[in-house]
Assembly symmetry: C2
Homo-oligomer: 258 residues x 2
């Protein structure tokens, strides 16, 4: 019953970490048991939730030499939300794993025991902006992909690429059932024509896949990580918290229908 969702888009700065953190926090606040795994060596989700990145506290060693994923699980301040933190050491995976033949399925195998233990309802993977091994491993380990899409030109350009990469992962046999579960429009600023145009273009091409919830660009959402807080702690009554709560509800509703 546990589902693994990768928050992925190789384009940088589109709101992957902000979405991974705040979707996880809002799901946890609604009683869902969530494990957030930070697969980005930048460790933004780790520090954004006020956890100090530490060498040895990441999936680096379990992925490249020894150890189990569940040994890296730590609680956060929020009930129902646990995290596997990241550290810069994770960047070593790009070289260390490249030399192994089965690098694509290493993460999937590492997370399999968690699935059987069913301690969590959802595992959310925050991924780095890249086309490298950490990103493709996450796509191979996930049941479904949620793609944050910035309402700007370069954001739209990147969408065709991530769709193509997911198809490759599916057809290569590394993860034949992986689906693009949803596309989430982020940093929406209604003042710009481009934003409105991108939203209508994407809705026309991807119809049901696009989340109805649109995340607005707000100053507080940009600020929250500097206090080590999720948006529902930093500005519980603001537009950012409302949007991410609505996203969590829509996320759960889509599963009930499925």
């Amino acid at each position: 019953r546990m589902r693994t969702v990768a928050i992925s888009n190789q384009k940088g700065g589109v709101g992957k970490t902000t979405t991974a953190m705040n979707l996880s926090a809002c799901l946890a606040a609604q009683g869902t048991r969530v494990l957030l795994i930070d697969l980005d060596p930048q460790a933004n989700a780790t520090s954004g939730l006020d956890i100090e990145p530490q060498p040895g506290l990441s999936l680096y060693s379990p992925l490249t030499s020894h150890g189990r994923a569940d040994q890296m699980i730590r609680p956060t301040r929020l009930p129902n939300l646990s995290i596997i933190p990241s550290h810069m050491e994770l960047a070593g995976c790009e070289i260390d794993l490249a030399r192994e033949n089965n690098h694509l399925t290493k993460l999937r195998d590492l997370l399999a025991p968690l699935k059987n233990a069913a301690t969590f309802d959802y595992v959310i993977l925050d991924t780095p902006p890249s086309l490298g091994i950490l990103m493709t491993s996450a796509l191979a380990a996930a049941d479904e992909i949620l793609i944050p899409l910035q309402c700007e030109y370069f954001g739209l350009e990147g969408l065709a690429k991530i769709v193509h990469i997911v198809e490759q992962i599916r057809s290569s046999g590394a993860n034949p059932n992986v689906q693009i579960e949803g596309i989430l429009m982020t940093m929406y600023d209604p003042r710009t024509n481009l934003a409105r145009q991108v939203v209508s273009d994407v809705a026309r091409h991807f119809e049901e896949t696009v989340y109805k919830t649109i995340i607005p660009r707000t100053i507080r959402l940009g600020e929250a990580p500097s206090f080590g807080l999720s948006i529902i702690e930093h500005e519980p009554k603001g537009r950012g918290a409302d949007a991410y709560r609505a996203l969590a509800s829509e996320f759960l509703q889509r599963r009930q229908k499925a």
Copy 2:
């Protein structure tokens, strides 16, 4: 006399491509001969300057098998500005080069003949948001690094990491003389406390290294790439064009003093 400048920051979406494109365009408009090299498989600088990414038209084959860099040079619409475009194929370098021992200096060796030909005054490298081989190769090939820094928390967090990576490249002997030439504050929105705080923190720590020019967040800067235009073509009299022209002047002035 030709100088190679890498526009680098492993944090995603901080304005690397926007800076690489618009700094190049403004330098070219002032009569400086510039070659922009797109080292990001996303090929945003390529499409942002209205060039269609094509397989075989990138540094992929020269880096991993055969061919010379100068065979990939194409003109752009702007006088004095040429480009070596990118294509998704470049992502293959992460795996193909990982298996070679001298992967760090391949790009440097490939660009050496350009330096001797002295056809260009500056080579500007746009780099991907990653800690992988394309990024580290660019740092090993460059004479100097210009770091765009978004005036937000995760932007500031990333700064210590890129500074550390550049030090590693220097001490490893791959590029003993590489310097961080400058830090450029981007997407500055004076309405937020955080932006003002980040600017003053960075100015205190890095003093002279920080460019006096600050790039504001403007709707037109976000829009320009969707028309395949640099900012000086899209909105020549706007705040974005003024800021990047000021950056180009400061960039040249810093060299005269050095």
